[in-house]
């Protein structure tokens, strides 16, 4: 995209019927670090890459709880993202106060205002309502779409390719497999860099489970599980632990088995991250 005479103002149309300012805002989303969302019938998982600007600084928070049943992951101008999260939290609280009932997600997603400039942030909104689990993508143009799985931000295409291959399995996926799929997709966006619990954040919500962010320990354990077993995605990983042998020293394999047994109980007990 190049500068042109129609791109100064968000209220100016180009002769081709484009609003360049809005398109530039969407570019801002593409520059942000990746965020991924996937859903099954009962759960929604949001995952994002957390890059600290330097070793001395802490990570930017990119996943926000909007209500017990709604969470949002952002990519792009995080400041704008925070403004929108606050607005959404407000909407949820007002609705709960008036109706004593959680706000249906679909009614939350129409938020964009057309004041000074478009918000330079893309929102992946995951939520639960009486019609099931939903994942929406809200872009700076104000449009929103519902997805089974989606990825936004830099190098999200790699994640999208992975998700496109696997999305049909997501509907009936278990919570654990959904999280593992999110981690796999996230790994794709890192392009060779090592995925550790310190450069990603995962959040889950589901039927009977309020929105919570998984703590570093749980995330690291899940990452270790599939790294010990190998490159295989979850479907094969289930069979692999039984067969994995001499390649890893004994203790590591034993540790993997122990982990697999503990996984269901530990995941249920995983404490939400206090931020």
């Amino acid at each position: 995209m190049f500068r042109n005479q129609y791109d100064t103002d968000v209220t100016t149309w180009s002769p081709a019927g484009r609003l360049f300012q809005v398109e530039y805002a969407m570019e801002a989303v593409k520059q942000g670090s990746a965020a991924i969302g996937l859903r099954s019938k009962t759960h929604v998982v949001l995952a994002c890459v957390n890059k600290a600007s330097s070793e001395l600084s802490s990570h930017q928070k990119k996943i926000f709880k909007v209500d017990d049943h709604i969470g949002v992951a952002i990519a792009g101008l995080t400041a704008d993202g925070r403004v929108l999260s606050r607005y959404m939290r407000n909407e949820c609280i007002n609705y709960s106060y008036t109706y004593e009932s959680p706000l249906p997600v679909g009614r939350l997603v129409c938020t964009q205002r057309s004041w000074k400039r478009p918000y330079g942030v893309g929102l992946l909104i995951g939520g639960l309502d009486e019609s099931g689990a939903h994942l929406y993508y809200n872009c700076p143009s104000g449009n929103y779409f519902e997805y089974q799985a989606f990825a936004i931000g830099s190098r999200s295409q790699a994640a999208k390719t992975y998700l496109e291959r696997k999305f049909e399995t997501f509907v009936d996926s278990s919570r654990e497999n959904l999280i593992k799929d999110a981690l796999f997709a996230l790994r794709e966006t890192l392009q060779g860099e090592k995925l550790t619990s310190s450069n990603c954040t995962i959040a889950v919500l589901g039927i009977g489970e309020a929105f919570s962010t998984l703590d570093q320990e749980t995330v690291q354990r899940l990452i270790n599980e599939f790294e010990v077993v190998g490159e295989d995605p979850p479907a094969e990983a289930a069979a692999a632990p039984d067969q994995s042998d001499g390649a890893e020293p004994g203790p590591a394999a034993a540790a993997a088995d122990d982990d697999d047994q503990e996984t269901p109980a530990a995941d249920q007990g995983a404490a939400p991250m206090d931020i």
Binding site: Y97, T98, Y99, E100, S101, P104, G106, R107, D129, E130, S131
Partner: protein, 218 residues
């Protein structure tokens, strides 16, 4: 009277509800096996005169709820306008979600309480019952915004005359016939003892399938 003292500052006192004119008497509601049953007579009193004898004091609200009102009938009609707008906006979303009885009652509570805070109440006591996704709900809200839910509720004189009967004789999972008999017993006591009761009543039933309001009978 507080209304008179604040008169000139507020502009015109005629904007406030100071006392009700045409009123309905008690409404009684119970939960039963398949949903909720409401009973109310069809009287509209003008002070001590039993002026209107065919007033429908119970109306369906959306797909899942039914409302019964006692008190000022014009305020009830106003409330119905609010609710119609609420349900309309809810339907316009067209997204598979709908407001259930709990949500409607809470909305009404907010409305009643806010009006009371402005010293301009909607002079009604409302009963709101409904069933959604198998969950039965029966609650009430008064003109000052006090609300609660229970297995059986009543407004006005019903609280004093009908609820003791219900406390003794109501039980979980009554059949429709048992429920109607119990409500008729309550309405009979009210007819004997409540001066503003008339001998013409309606019974409303709400189940998962929908709302039915019976023809008037005595």
């Amino acid at each position: 009277m507080p209304g008179l003292m604040l008169a000139s500052a507020a502009g015109s006192d005629s904007q406030r509800t100071l006392y009700p004119y045409v009123t309905g008497t008690s409404v009684v509601g119970i939960k039963y096996k398949d949903g909720i049953l409401l009973a109310a007579d069809m009287g509209g009193s003008y002070g001590s005169t039993l002026r209107y004898k065919t007033v429908e004091r119970m109306k369906p609200v959306g797909k899942h709820s039914i409302i019964g009102a006692s008190g000022e009938l014009s305020d009830f009609q106003e409330i119905m306008r609010y609710l119609d707008e609420l349900i309309l906006n809810d339907n316009m979303w067209d997204d598979g979600n709908s407001l259930g009885p709990k949500e409607v009652l809470n909305y009404l509570t907010r409305v009643m309480y806010n009006r009371r805070n402005k010293f301009n109440p909607l002079w009604n006591s409302l009963v709101l019952g409904g069933i959604k996704n198998g969950q039965k709900y029966l609650g009430t809200v008064s003109m000052i915004g006090v609300h609660y839910e229970d297995n059986h509720v009543a407004t006005g004189f019903g609280n004093h005359l009908a609820r003791p009967i219900l406390r003794d004789e109501w039980h979980e999972d009554m059949t429709f016939e048992e429920g109607v008999k119990l409500l008729e017993k309550c309405m009979r006591v009210l007819l004997y003892r409540d001066r503003s009761a008339v001998n013409k009543l309606q019974i409303a039933k709400i189940t998962e399938e929908g709302v039915t309001i019976s023809q008037p009978y005595s």
